[in-house]
């Protein structure tokens, strides 16, 4: 049986953490079936629109 690849995101912030074939998760994580197909520097999941977006990191956030 072919394994299904899913994306793991932070269930609070939507930050993309990794993709995996199994269902094991940490407490702060959740699985979504959507796979990101575009290269992004800092990918996040938009819960409302159900799309990935590249979150811009500002200087303030860096500091």
């Amino acid at each position: 049986m072919e394994e299904i690849l899913k994306t793991v995101i932070d269930k609070e912030t939507g930050q993309e953490l990794r993709a995996q074939f199994h269902d094991q998760l940490a407490e702060n994580e959740m699985l979504i079936e959507a796979l990101r197909t575009e290269p992004m520097e800092n990918p996040y999941w938009d819960f409302a629109n159900e799309v990935f977006y590249d979150k811009i990191i500002t200087n303030e956030e860096n500091n």
């Binding site: 990794r18 993709a19 990101r36 992004m40």
Partner: protein, 313 residues
């Protein structure tokens, strides 16, 4: 009835001055009284303590239920003690086995140390609960427990994990994708030793684009993100199809795993750039996990881990 008594007494006293157990048997049964349980007012046969002659004694002068002693039952110096209890007490007093008084080891004053020799059958004592009795432990049992303890502590470790079944293909995503998770059990790696990765082999089919390969050694049961706990990492230069292999050796010493702080070569069908790795904390006494991930440049590409070996020596 009383006539028989008197005949008997006269016969005793005529025959011999002193009534003894020996001469009682010389009398005919017919000469003995037939009433054996005297009641109040009866006279019974006794012996004069001064003359030794048989005499009649009124039962009224014999005292209470204490019988012939004339003493009542009680627990004072002028009373008689119950015979059944006295028997039990006497039998208890002459016991020499079974610790009849439940004496505890700490109550003994003659327990001395033994330092000259010890054999397998020698016994020492162990007390598990305050107030409870001590228990025996043989030296043989102690040796067996010590052997188990030290074997676990000092026995040479031998870790040899081989994965030859390829992972599923990573395709359809450009996210970093976990393709392998190896559990390294607690204490399965020796201290002051080497962690060897003789071979890690990947393949990719697709179009030109960088492919990232990362290895992470972590205590986390899920793969850490990005560069956390990373112990190796490669980025392949753009190529359509790729075969990639590498071997690595790490040093385990005093809670740290050390790698190569400068780029090293890999076996690759196209050029590869190494992310250097210096060292990181590593606790070999807890469960660790080795993760391998692949990140495609193009979601339409396909790549998978073909195999890996991990050993410790």
């Amino acid at each position: 009835m009383l006539g028989n008594y008197k005949k008997w007494i006269n016969r005793i006293n005529a025959k011999q001055d002193v009534l003894t157990e020996d001469n009682v048997g010389e009398f005919m049964d017919s000469e003995l009284p037939t009433k054996l349980t005297p009641t109040s007012g009866d006279t019974v046969l006794g012996r004069d303590s001064l003359t030794g002659k048989a005499v009649e004694i009124p039962t009224s002068s014999l005292g209470g239920s204490g019988g012939g002693s004339g003493l009542a039952l009680g627990e004072t110096e002028s009373t008689a003690y119950r015979g059944d209890r006295g028997k039990t007490a006497y039998e208890h007093s002459i016991k020499t086995t079974g610790n009849p008084h439940n004496t505890k080891v700490e109550e003994l004053t003659d327990v001395s140390g033994e330092t000259t020799s010890i054999t397998d059958t020698d016994v020492i004592l162990k007390k598990e609960v305050v107030g409870e009795l001590w228990k025996k432990i043989s030296w043989a049992n102690i040796k067996a427990n010590l052997k188990t303890y030290f074997d676990n502590l000092y026995a040479p470790k031998s870790l040899n994990i081989k994965v030859t079944t390829p992972s599923s293909y990573v395709t359809g995503t450009t996210s970093e994708t976990e393709v392998l998770k190896i559990e390294i059990p607690a204490n399965s790696i020796s201290d002051n030793s080497f962690l060897n990765m003789p071979i890690l082999y990947l393949s990719k089919i697709g179009t030109n684009g960088n492919m990232n390969i990362k290895g992470k050694l972590s205590t986390s049961p899920t793969m850490p993100s990005a560069g956390t706990d990373q112990i190796f990492g490669y980025t392949n230069v753009p190529s359509a199809n790729l075969s990639f292999g590498m071997n690595r050796i790490y040093i385990i010493s005093e809670g740290v795993i050390k790698g190569f702080p400068f780029p090293v070569s890999a076996f690759s069908s196209s050029a590869a750039n190494l992310n250097s790795f210096g060292s990181k904390a590593f606790d070999r006494t807890v469960t660790n996990y080795l993760y391998v991930s692949i990140q495609l440049a193009n979601s339409a590409d396909q790549a998978r881990l073909e195999g890996i070996q991990l050993t410790n020596s």
